[in-house]
Symmetry: D3
């Protein structure tokens, strides 16, 4: 990902990206039910996907132990990538713990999103890598999951994530940006953010939202005039 | 609302008001599933109601855009009022964002309660107006809701709220006080709070709750004696 | 409980105990859906059980008021014990408030676990006794529950708790240790914790988890060598 | 409603109407979670709405008893209308029983849709009026609901229903047709149904769905030829 | 149970009993979420309780196998009794199968109510004993449950059942009658049923529910006159 | 699949197969939440898998229309196979309708299992192919799903299904048999079924389940003697 796109995405609120995607017909693009382990975390990066399937004891015996696909994914995640895990929203077993979070951090990964749980939650929070999760649970993944495959299109938190999709998270939640729309959407979101900040000032000063949010011609003229002076 | 009633309600814990309402036969008076955006927030004021209905695309086209009833409500909320929003407990779209929160704050509103979500959650938390919500979500309301009407009786968080009902919120949750009971209930709650604080001291000192919680005649005599000395 | 077992349990993370129990065939031993009122709380002690049944008005009239089994349990809890409450996961009424929390604290109880809610949540959090709960709610227990019996085997948060079972809680959740396994499990968990801390250091230093987590012979030799030097 | 429109709607499957509404951008138009009391029931008619709000004991005392809005609605429903009830999907209390079902039937109502429950379910099923419901429950409505108002826009089963909207139900579920689209949509649905029936015959005869569903030019030519011969 | 009380309870609809209990202040007396395996089943009898706790592998090893409390309960149920099973509403494992249903039938039991599932559902339905259940599932109980104790007060389907409580089930659901109220409640329900049947006839004949449901003085006079002639 | 294995599986109840799998350590092998469209349906065959991912509008545009993977799967299903569909348990959109069911039937498929919904439910039920589903819904799949891939391991109803796994369904539910265990498990289930039928006769004749279920040495001797005479 180009550094300037990254910088813009780091500056853009998820709510603003969501509004721009909706304008382009994309409503079902949020990973719902996850929260950052550390409040006010920002996360940006392309998705590296990992899929868990429901624990069936015979499959866990064959695929769960040893150097499984979960561990291989954390060992090979590239700098800047976000590991996104499909755990079917089941938060009664962990999908990673502190050692894997440390590994992802050491490889320079940009973050982790899982619609399952994490274990060692305090330790994971302390690692310094952004983690968005459905909750904390002490059990290892084998209680509910078999690590199955990576690098395929997955479901996570009610939306679909493809490898390479751009993942952005903040206090409002996590959103999935199709890469071909990223530049256009983030530019529009930042422009709107600029407008909204100015509108917020006018509203804080006592103006009604009527005619201002969205702006009518008169308010827009004032805004443009202010913007050019800036 | 009379200032002294307000002052008493600000001093009374929601748990105490709940106990007094239950004594008067009212059990289903709590807005469940909502939490304050900022911990240890207190909220008190009469309800200004706003109802969203499920997003049906043809209705959203006709009622969702422009200066809709959501915006009109925030533009006309009176000082001291609490905006209460029916969103059917659906937290997968926002029911307000920072600009509307700023507007409510600028108008002197006493708070906002929604059983849906908020967007721009960090910014909304920073505005300074008490907000109790079902969660945070980046999407605008049109993802799930059509803003429909205001000033009517609504359902919120499993109870019913009428315009003018007194809303009180704290860390335990949000409660709805029928106005005609407010004075009586808050007085009883504060008196009970006084008793409970004294009981808490006795229990902290090692006394059993037996005979003390509730108090038998002997303990009550001691309490009354202490209270008169105070 | 022997003091040294207690000390070891206080040092052992719940995630580590969970992994050791799973190795011994116990997967369904966590109280799910509860969180500590105060972040980063640790809780350890043998269970004192208390069961609530669903509110049936005639039973509440006969068993709910006065010096009921809830109050008797808090008045008789022994130093070091953890009160564990079955509330069927219903968090729309409280299962205790500040006065009972103070009473448990005054008796030296080691903590409280409830899959229902607490009222006076801020006050309860301030008492200083570890409390893990399904949430906060202002209503007294009679809204949903009849206090029924204590000292029997109960269901709590999806697992079963017997009087005397050892309860351990931290940020990852709450686990139930059968007493006969406690010593063996905590020793194994602490040993594993020791290993994992060393592994975490190697991973933080850039080593892959491959061959290290779990360790192959070569890494184990290095670990043993380090451990003996320590 | 014109008799020929009614006739066409009675002939059109809900699945076909749903597909046509989706083609016109309407996806959120189904009342989900309801089933007919009697299998293979068809229901068609304009909506007469009725809203229940959550039981708050003081409001029930004032609005629940006597000749309340529920009874007034059943007493005044017009021939051909479908009573649609908002009960917030709560099926732990009834929203009507046999006497009201008989009254609606006697007035010539075309059916009843409720996202709450019915009591006297066997007797209601025997009345002969189509009833779609979230389930059966013995309790009267006051257990969970206060009958509140009628003739307003309501939420039912996850969609929005306006008075006069056309309601159509069959074994697949219940759909809401905006009146201005009804003629166009039903005509398109019946035409598609005609095509689909012919396609079904070809598929039953062993043809692949490829090129046939939807039809390519060659298959369409055959279909048109068949249709003209018919 | 006296035979004439039984006969009256068999004639009384659950909905009517529910209404009478509500008049006496009892709202939370229904076992929700269960349906009869065979449509239009009637069930009446005093409760014989059986409690399952969540499967904890060590407890199942000690209590699950052999001649456990589940089997002992079915072997000792008395003629006319209804076995009521607490399974915490978990329908992902069975709580009985055909052999136990046959045993209960052979002992003359009046029925079985479980808020868990049954296995061998078709075979159980064929036995001829009334069974109300949360669903069908092929797994044996050990998948989710440990059979624990019997003859104690239990929770089932959201209400509380004491040994000896009178259980009545029909198509509307299952209700719990405290024995001391049974005679009074069933008499009142049958009297009301008589009234309601007459009212239903008047409504079927085209009369409005106004003044009739409930009856005003004039209608009551007509009803009394009719009743005396009968 | 060998014809004699098929015949044995058709004779074996799912409950019996479940018990045998549990004896071999497999508990999480049932597709939960699905029911046959036609009561008392039996379904047996190897799985042909099909995966839907959550509807993201941009992905639906690219993958949803035309001759998509859903249609290709139904066009290429082999005689005797069971199509198993992952729809994440979302029953608010259909995953197939009558034309695809006819196509599967025409190809000789042994059945369809979906944890989503079907549309044209009455018509699908009439086709004659066994269908187990989470419910009926009129909407086409695009309301919630993008048809994504087939022939991969999927999650369905809480368990995992691999292509070629043997699927068996009856009134108790649907189970997944790993092929390498099929012969052994079905033989054991049929043998147990034989025993259980004999036990059921003894219990129907008035014998207690004690010593009989499971059988002690004495009962087993009688059973063996009966079995040899047969």
């Amino acid at each position: 990902m180009p550094e300037d796109l990254l910088a813009k995405l780091r500056a853009a609120p998820v709510a603003g990206l969501s509004a721009q995607l909706r304008k382009r017909g994309l409503n079902n693009v949020t990973v719902d039910g996850v929260r950052p382990l550390v409040p006010s975390t920002k996360l940006v990066g392309p998705a590296r996907t990992l899929r868990f399937v429901p624990n069936r004891e015979d499959l866990f015996d064959a695929h769960g132990a040893g150097y499984n696909v979960q561990k291989r994914t954390f060992d090979t995640v590239e700098a800047g990538e976000v590991i996104v895990i499909e755990a079917r929203g089941d938060t009664t077993a962990a999908t990673l713990g502190d050692i894997l979070a440390i590994r992802a951090h050491a490889r320079g990964a940009a973050g982790i999103v899982t619609d399952g749980a994490v274990r060692d939650a305090d330790a994971v929070a302390a690692v310094g890598i952004p983690v968005f999760t459905g909750g904390a649970h002490p059990a290892v993944l084998g209680r509910r999951h078999v690590p199955w495959d990576s690098g395929i299109t997955i479901a996570c938190g009610g939306t679909t994530v493809q490898p390479g999709d751009i993942i952005v998270g903040d206090s409002d939640g996590v959103i999935v940006l199709p890469p071909r729309l990223a530049e256009e959407v983030v530019d529009a979101a930042l422009a709107q953010e600029d407008e909204d900040a100015w509108i917020a000032e006018q509203v804080a000063a006592g103006n009604p939202v009527r005619d201002l949010f969205p702006m009518n011609a008169e308010w827009r003229a004032r805004y443009e005039s202010w913007r050019q002076k800036r």
